[in-house]
Symmetry: C2
Subunit: 411 residues, 2 copies
């Protein structure tokens, strides 16, 4: 958490990963992000992972630092409140982030009638507006056929990614887009509608990384190469104590250090003649990957992870151990309060756990502890009073009429 | 491409994926991004994928829309030029993006002596400054042990991701951070040093997505569940013509549509009694995933991909086909010039291929065709003249002394 975006207010009507991650990224930099949800909770209110008591760790994870208002979004009065929040006057207001349908009362043109310099960020599925989620896009971009054990050029045994990478990239891209639009508004006074199709995030990245060009220019597709690092040298090894490590030699220096530190430089050099390659070149290291691994493998099998660590630490060898989630949490200092990224935060109804802030460290803004996620509707009264200027009496009436509610604990 | 960031200039000294992707993301929104490299090309100048002639598609993909200046960065004269570029006066100047070591002549404090409101974005490996790359971080966050075929809770057979997801997320995060810092400078006049450790990007996201909390609060780790979508229903199916599709039912509506469209609603309902679950709940659909798949599988096996498509199109079923890279490029309209995201661009020495612009569509800025990547040093003279105000004679002398060069074609 920091305060570099203090003064910005984003109203978020969203669910799932990409758009809530966008809002959270901005909240963790000090923007006031107000998420609105139906009184019974939104589509993702109970999303897994959950605690044993059924409380959503997903909600806790992706709504940190936001304020929450619970509103009956089907009632005209509730809709009026939301529109009022979105189009509230003031320089830092008037930013709406959503992945909901944007027709009717939440349409851009409708909202613009109340604030003509509105910035609206709409994260959609496909560019034509049809639905697409991370999982139905990831299968479309070719990667599952080259993930997992090598199986030549056959399009069989697809392996999905587990990290919703497209959602994650899209969430941060949306945050970048909002800041670009806010800069534009600050300079010109002009608001705008911004569309970010999740599909375009995925296809653009596949183009950026050369997969599209490879098919078109080389007339061939990238083939599966297992856990090898494409285009340079990278391989996983098992240690004597049945741990795994990954070792990388992308740069020439990383390669030289690996040769020196393992003492296998001379042996590895013989591969050059054997296969007619120049191992100083990253592409040639990729071509010779199996021979290189054959030479290195016994070295790792003869050593424990601790021995490997002692040998490599402080050298220029680029490597890391494979860890389970538990090993990551229990043994890796980078995923602990030893790293200022993390704090222990108490989440009501859930308990205390390690919570990350923003990975961005701004020297002009002191890093402050991450803030927890709100309960559903935790800030209903506060937001109605502070942003819309409603009186206690008016808020009481809205509560009586069940137009607003909260805080609540949805299970 | 668009022009929403017109007026910003970023000087980029970087290599590999994350930092160059940051620069490109800003360039594709109209910022003037000047990448400097040594005269012989930087560490990633020849990076794979390459064309048959050995030209880097990687360079072409991650440097689109930038200008390139080739400088002997070891000579005092070359260093002076780079420092002059980074600290050039003017409101939109004074932004330096790097993943290089930042000691000595490229240190923040050194550069600040020439421009005290400098913004410097430094993408590093580990928070302590030690090296880490996407591949040595991905193995540390636990995901490879739950990717690929199910194998219970054993930490065996790690499967790496192929998409450098952490690099991609970090690149966009860095761009977001630069825009946040530029807003801060615009409001306060204050520049700053921003550090973004790739490791923190990865560990923060693992925290955001609940993996850390699961270990700490539930005392257990997420287990491998193959291609199933964790916490809701999602599964891959083979069709009659040996294609694969992925089908998702995260929301209740998606589930209802799947039941109705396949005509298997009644059969699927019997699973509720069979397993004691409520399939209207996403978590219960996850628990009953194997039974659901057993019912659905024959339906897909009896139909071709075209038949599946005809049945699902226009309904609320959330699904998509698995595609190879070639199928993505040759059969998917979203990855073609039918999608305004893409244009055919001619890249000198490489040829014409499909090039994506920014996935962000700003209504206030007309979308313009993506710009190609520069040749190494293609803009050396232009940048020296335009930004540093050097005369033709001065530039000629620098060329003679081999302080600068280009354009060149590195193979």
């Amino acid at each position: 958490m920091n305060k570099i975006l203090a003064g910005l207010r984003i109203v978020e009507g969203a669910a799932f990963v990409a758009a809530p991650l966008c809002g959270m990224s901005l909240a963790q930099q000090g923007a006031d992000v107000i998420r609105f949800d139906p009184i019974e909770g939104g589509l993702d209110a109970r999303r897994w992972p959950v605690t044993r008591e059924g409380r959503s760790l997903y909600w806790a994870g992706l709504n940190k630092g936001k304020r929450s208002i619970a509103v009956n979004t089907r009632s005209p009065e509730g809709q009026e409140l939301i529109c009022g929040l979105i189009t509230a006057p003031g320089e830092g207001n008037g930013i709406y982030l959503t992945n909901f349908p944007t027709s009717g009362w939440l349409g851009y043109d409708t909202l613009c009638k109340r604030r003509d310099d509105l910035i609206m960020m709409n994260v959609t599925g496909n560019p034509d507006g049809s639905s697409a989620v991370d999982y139905t896009l990831n299968c479309a971009v070719g990667l599952p056929f080259v993930t997992g054990p090598e199986h030549g050029g056959q399009a069989v045994n697809p392996v999905n990614h587990v990290l919703p990478a497209w959602d994650a990239i899209a969430g941060v891209t949306a945050a970048m887009g909002i800041l670009a639009a806010e800069r534009h508004r600050r300079l010109t006074g002009q608001g705008q509608y911004i569309k970010l199709p999740l599909a375009d995030v995925a296809f653009a990245m596949m183009g950026n990384l050369g997969y599209v060009a490879e098919v078109q220019l080389n007339g061939e597709e990238r083939r599966s190469c297992g856990n090898y690092l494409y285009g340079a040298y990278g391989c996983e090894f098992e240690t004597r104590d049945t741990r795994y490590v990954y070792v990388v030699a992308i740069t020439k220096r990383q390669w030289q250090e690996l040769c020196e530190t393992t003492g296998l430089g001379e042996k590895l050099e013989t591969i050059e003649q054997l296969l007619g390659v120049d191992l100083a070149k990253e592409g040639d290291r990729f071509k010779a990957r199996e021979a290189i691994s054959a030479v290195l493998r016994p070295w790792f099998r003869a050593r424990s992870l601790a021995e490997v660590r002692r040998t490599f630490d402080g050298t220029g060898v680029c490597w890391g151990p494979y860890q389970t989630f538990r090993q990551m949490v229990e043994q890796d200092a980078r995923c602990s309060v030893q790293n200022p990224l993390f704090s222990h935060i108490d989440q009501p109804g859930i308990g205390s756990f390690l919570v990350p802030g923003s990975p961005l460290q701004f020297s002009a803004e002191v890093r402050v502890a991450p803030r927890r996620a709100p309960l559903l509707g935790e800030h209903t009264d506060q937001v109605l009073s502070e942003v819309l200027g409603l009186s206690e009496g008016q808020i009481g009436k809205l509560r009586e009429q069940k137009v607003v509610a909260g805080p609540m604990d949805f299970r």
